[in-house]
C-alpha cells in the first residue's frame, strides 16, 4: 500500500438561513441528502456506520461513493470518508475525508466543509489521470 502525495484541503464555507439542527439532517437523513448531493443514499450516521451515496453520471452511469461515518456530533459536526467503488475513478473508498462543521451564527448556520487527503493530480501519469478526469467530468454533469 503506497501513500500518495496529497494536496492542501479543499475548504468551502456558507452562511445558511436555517438552524444547525435543520442543516445537520441534510448530511444524515437519506431523504434529505438526496435533495442536494446524491440520487440515492444509505446512511448509518454513527462512527463506523456506512455512508453510501449514488451519484448520477450521464449515460445512466452510476458512481458509487462508499464512505463511512467517522464522527457524528449532532448538530455541530459530521465527518465521513469519501471514495468510489468504480474502478474507473481513482479515489478508493476510505482514501479521502470530508469534515463538516456547523456553528450557530446570526440566527442561522455557518457551515464549513473541509475535504482532506485528496491526491495530487497525476501529472506524468497521463493515461490514468486523463481517463479519471473524463469520467469525473461526466459524472458531474447535470
Amino acid at each position: 500500500m503506497t501513500t500518495r502525495a496529497t494536496t492542501e484541503p479543499i475548504v468551502h464555507e456558507r452562511q445558511i438561513e436555517a438552524t444547525p439542527e435543520t442543516v445537520f439532517a441534510f448530511f444524515t437523513d437519506p431523504t434529505k441528502l438526496t435533495r442536494w448531493l446524491a440520487v440515492d443514499a444509505t446512511l448509518d450516521p454513527r462512527p463506523g456506520g456506512i455512508c453510501h451515496q449514488t451519484h448520477d453520471g450521464r449515460n445512466g452511469v452510476e458512481y458509487l461513493m462508499r464512505g463511512e461515518f467517522v464522527e457524528v456530533e449532532f448538530p455541530s459536526r459530521v465527518v465521513f470518508t469519501w471514495g468510489f467503488e468504480n474502478d474507473d475513478i481513482d479515489l478508493r473508498p476510505g482514501e479521502t475525508t470530508v469534515e463538516v462543521t456547523l456553528e450557530p451564527r446570526d440566527g442561522g448556520t455557518w457551515l464549513t466543509l473541509v475535504h482532506r487527503d485528496l491526491p495530487q493530480s497525476e501529472r506524468g501519469d497521463h493515461d490514468s489521470g486523463w481517463a479519471t478526469m473524463l469520467d469525473r467530468l461526466a459524472a458531474a454533469l447535470p
Partner: protein, 109 residues
Amino acid sequence: MQASLDALAEPRRREILALIRDRELAAGEIAANFEVTRSAISQHVGVLKLAGLVTERREGTKRLYRARPEGLADLRAFIDEFWSERLDDLVREAEREERSSKHDHASDN
C-alpha cells in the same frame, strides 16, 4: 472549466476525446469511427478545440487532432467545483426546509 464541462456535455465528444487520447488522428479517421456525417464530427472537434481540449496540427493537407489533457483543470479543481455547486444546492434546500417547518409551526397555533 465551464467551457470544458460544456464541451463534454455531449457524449459523442467524450467518445472522440477517448479516441484521440493516446494518438493523433486525422478528421477523416475520427469520423470513420462514428455513424454520423463527417461534418458533424468536424463540428464536435471544433467545440473541443475551442474549449482547449484538443490540439490541431497540419501535415500537408491533413489536419491531425489529439486530446490535450492539460486543458482540463486538475482533480482538485474539479472536486472544488463539485462541492461549490452541491453546497449552493444545500443552502437552497436547507433554507426551504427551514421555512416550511416554521410555516408548519405557525399553522399549529
